[in-house]
Subunit: 418 residues, 2 copies
């Protein structure tokens, strides 16, 4: 993609109405645009990141046996009355249309469960795991954390249905692993902790995946022996003790919840009478689990964790492009234009995703944009590099650039981004 | 995908609460599930169709130079006040949160235009075409046409921004062609007419793409000479005359609007003062166009056009799978199971999307499911076909099946689905 055709403009100064690092950087670098507090447009650059994350999550959900569908956002309010959450769920938006009352889905148990009821009758229909990517809507009184807390955000939610608790436990472990794979693939594994949280009235614990960041709104308590954490909600109840090894020296850290998994058991299947006939023909209530990840929050968290004073530093799996190719002085030096144009075409043909900054702009402007946008590899073609029959290659994570002979550039770049 | 693991159940009798053919068939064949009037869940089978249509539309939008982004559904009501549509747009849902008032986007001009305003300053930033796939929300008092008229539906909307009307005209023609390609690729080209509609106060005409079907809620008037149509809205104004050739023998037909394109000109750019500096440094108002396609409506229309008394008949580009593979009597005949399992693996490895009906069910049940679901090619492995060292192959559009030698089956199937 050529910069001059691309809907991307960086902003010289950080937006004043944003308090969080992630929103400041993502707005400044042209990934997102704020419509109102907690409501962001994803611009083409940000949309590419969203799609890459979505593809990683989809891959892991499918590997774990999940089947994708797409549920509505408009839920009949009566479904929420049935579970009692119409009154208790604080963050819910309601819609009226004549006599009809709808809820704008902040989560989807109230739709997924009755849907499963139309299709699950026998033990042969179990287990079942259904997931979707879909906008959720939640009232957020304090939407001050940029993309980390939104009124409207894309969520992957998966609902699993089981014949018994053993089967739920097996699947829950599989999901734990899938989530760990996801956080590894998006570049957050080192800072992300499997965290014990309250299980509500139905389970002993649920689990959160908490990523360490100063921007986090949560406090977690890390056991350095087990590499797990406990959240604030249950730390007193556990008497400041690791639930796995009994370690009492837990370390407090700020963190953000990037995913959570929950053994719902019969919490939602019971009110909807979601049951099945077992092998003996006996009717039993279905056991459930639910598993969520908010995508904008994940983008915001990556931006918090992977950034420096110059801008964003995308992990390669979620970077909007693989290479930021810069030509300098091409308007005066035909050889620069020819070499850079050729390299751009070659990279595209090799399947490399390249953003080509061929604008007539100063080197300083192009370099600071490259740093701000944070694509993993910067490649420069200039009269100076060509005087050495080379192009310049620099990783966003490193300070030093190096020269690569022009004729080997394509190979070198492909090796670097792998 | 094996049927016994797939979240798919067909229903023996058509649902009684549906009036339209498309909803009856799509519900019965397990593509969608009704949550409330005009609000449908897309089940895994229906979601696959949605994704295929989305990919075709995305491809055509990108070829025409469109850049994809993702705008919010929650719009500040003040944006809609600015264009005057908060009062005049009848089908709009409103949300309140304390002092804040939001509109749930039925269309996105009120967000796309102010967004473009932050980025377009000079003639060098033009033209620009931004598109998205996103849920729209509209109050529908009479949501009786199944998927063809929904309260909530996925829409592709593209907004184009131009320096002058000539540039808009050029792009409008390009979009016309892109839309024609889309309707061709999804199997609707023969029944779809480029239809003249009212241009409102800003343009002489807008254009709709209308597909002939008895289920359509619109009336159009076809000129058989030009192969274009005129919609009911402007037929009297045109004195029943073709606007292209003057033909006065127009033929009335029932149709459904599957897409529309509109020269907005300055209708939305003016209220938001969306302008640019031209080459001489003069400030000018930007000229706009908008281009929409509703995806569920397209699915519903395809179901109306491509179905018969036995069920759905998917055009191959949008079929959820390429092949419906059936094994008969595999539970008793090991050779059937072995041959069908092998063919299933070979097809998958060859990149063929195959739904494998390996359930222990009667031939009648499997055959009627194959017809109801409507995948283009049915392949049967049974003791009878194997007695002839063959598998049976039948197109959904044809009555007769034919035998293909087992060892050539893979090749034959691949040739058939191309």
């Amino acid at each position: 993609m050529k910069r001059s055709n691309y809907y991307l403009k960086t902003v010289t100064t950080a937006p004043k109405d944003e308090q969080s690092v992630n929103a400041k950087l993502l707005v400044q670098a042209g990934f997102v645009n704020k419509l109102s507090a907690g409501v962001y447009s994803l611009l083409p650059l940000g949309f590419r990141v969203l799609r890459k994350i979505e593809d990683i999550i989809r891959d892991e959900m499918e590997k774990a046996g999940g089947q994708e569908l797409f549920l509505p956002s408009m839920h009949p309010a009566k479904n929420w009355e049935k579970t009692g959450r119409l009154a208790t769920y604080e963050d819910i938006y309601k819609l009226k249309e004549g006599e009809k009352e709808f809820v704008l889905g902040p989560t989807h148990e109230e739709v997924a469960v009755p849907l499963a009821k139309s299709f699950i009758h026998s033990y042969r229909d179990l287990p079942l795991a259904l997931f979707q990517f879909q906008n959720k809507f939640r009232k957020e009184l304090r939407a001050k954390s940029g993309l980390m807390r939104g009124r409207e955000f894309m969520m992957k939610d998966l609902y699993s249905f089981h014949a018994d608790e053993t089967d739920l436990d097996t699947f829950y472990d599989k999901m734990t692993e899938a989530y760990q794979n996801i956080f590894k693939r998006v570049g957050l594994s080192e800072k992300t902790f499997f965290t014990f949280a309250s299980g509500g009235s139905f389970s002993k614990y649920s689990h959160e995946f908490q990523t360490l960041t100063e921007a986090g709104e949560d406090l977690i308590y890390i056991c350095d022996k087990c590499k797990i954490a406990v959240n604030k909600e249950i730390i007193s109840e556990l008497k400041n003790t690791c639930p796995q090894c009994g370690n009492q020296k837990l370390r407090e850290e700020k963190a953000v919840e990037v995913g959570n998994i929950f053994k719902l058991k019969t919490k939602f299947s019971a009110p909807f009478d979601l049951s099945f006939s077992d092998a003996k023909g006996e009717k039993k209530t279905i056991i459930m689990g639910c598993y969520g990840i908010g995508l904008q929050r994940l983008i915001g968290t990556i931006a918090e964790v992977w950034s420096d004073e110059k801008g964003l530093v995308w992990p390669k799996n979620v970077s909007p492009f693989d290479v930021y190719l810069i030509s300098l002085g091409a308007e005066k030096d035909h050889k620069v234009k020819k070499t850079a144009d050729k390299l751009y075409e070659e990279l595209k043909n090799a399947g490399v995703e390249v953003l080509y900054d061929e604008r007539e702009a100063s080197p300083g402007e192009k370099f600071s944009d490259a740093d701000l946008i944070g694509i993993p590899l910067r490649v420069v073609v200039s009269p100076k590099t060509l005087a050495n029959s080379s192009v310049e290659i620099k990783k966003r994570t490193e300070k030093e650039a190096s020269l690569s002979p022009t004729e080997k550039a394509l190979k070198t770049i492909i090796a670097e981004i792998k």
